[in-house]
Symmetry: C2
Subunit: 204 residues, 2 copies
């Protein structure tokens, strides 16, 4: 009797190999291309092997998204640490956020709605998503001054608005809704859009 091909892997190794194959496939062909069949084929194991490690395709997608959010948060924290406080740090966070999205466009599409229908079923991914926008919030709180309830509401609104701005810009750039060529490239446009927003804030 022919041995199942997945015997070549230890249990943990196979899960890692499946996740790595899924990530590579995602970055190359997008969330629409992900299937257990395609991932198993990539690493030469049986089509049923993924079922031993992931409850469902969406469970695997949520894992990839959670990793993406952690990478985004790490990138944001590094960008914040490298910039001087105030407007400069906010601008650096904005540029870093959009830069991350454009470096990983298919991962970013997965992180925001393509391929996952119900985030509430994936609390680890949802929590990682919320954590990923915390560096922007913390930087705003530091510089708008968090010294009372009214101020807390203002900071919350500014943090939501900042996230909407960089997410919207990332999404519109990824789906090519914006004519970049006539606007001096995506980095120049990002800098102008982020600067306009930061300039409008009531920074002390």
């Amino acid at each position: 009797m022919r041995k199942p091909r997945r015997d070549r892997y230890h249990h943990g190794d196979l899960k890692r190999a499946l996740t790595a194959a899924a990530r590579a496939l995602l970055e190359r062909d997008g969330p629409e291309a992900i299937s257990f069949r395609a991932i198993a084929r990539e690493i030469g194991v049986s089509q049923t092997a993924p079922y031993n490690h992931f409850q469902s395709k969406e469970d695997l997608m949520a894992t990839l998204a959670a990793v993406g959010f952690c990478e985004l948060e790490a990138s944001q924290l590094a960008a914040a640490a490298a910039a001087r406080p105030g407007r400069e740090r906010l601008a650096a966070l904005g540029a870093d956020y959009v830069g991350f999205a454009l470096k990983h466009p298919q991962l970013y599409r997965l992180m925001f709605g393509v391929g996952i229908s119900d985030w509430s079923a994936h609390p680890h991914a949802r929590d990682a998503k919320r954590a990923s926008c915390r560096p922007i919030r913390d930087t705003l709180a530091e510089h708008l001054g968090d010294d009372g309830n009214a101020r807390t509401d203002a900071i919350d609104t500014a943090a939501v608005a900042a996230w909407c701005l960089v997410h919207g810009l990332s999404a519109l750039l990824i789906d090519k809704s914006l004519d970049i060529a006539k606007r001096g490239g995506q980095r120049a446009l990002t800098d102008r859009v982020v600067s306009l927003f930061v300039a409008g804030l009531d920074l002390r």
Copy 2:
């Protein structure tokens, strides 16, 4: 010989019926649920009938998206007409934009990237997308004052930023990334986010 069932439809009527069925299916179950098979089943015609009217599923999706953008533009124009010029009109456009997206979340997801891989293959949809953000741009131009090249660049940046803001907010609300309950509901949050942005603009 049994007549093909689609003989019940005149040519134009069948295309309309297919499009209407696709729109209903889209609004109910999302872009992921759209297939020629599912649409044909909805109106009781043969599975091959859609191929007589649409080159591909993506061609049908692009048609639905184009219709969506025209509806969004109509909604924006009506909102602009109903509001007084200046900040009030900008705020009304922001609220109307997000309101449209949340009234048609699955259509909006299709309009922005879920189910259409290459917009350049669908120039009518791409043009309709660009036209849909024109009411915001025109209102900004009217009130920031379009009286020179430098000013034109500033208006372009503000228009891009405004679109990013309302698109980002719509997308984050649709995929439930924002905790609405603790923020007084989506309309209240939208009003605060849009107000913060409008207040930061250099309006005359």
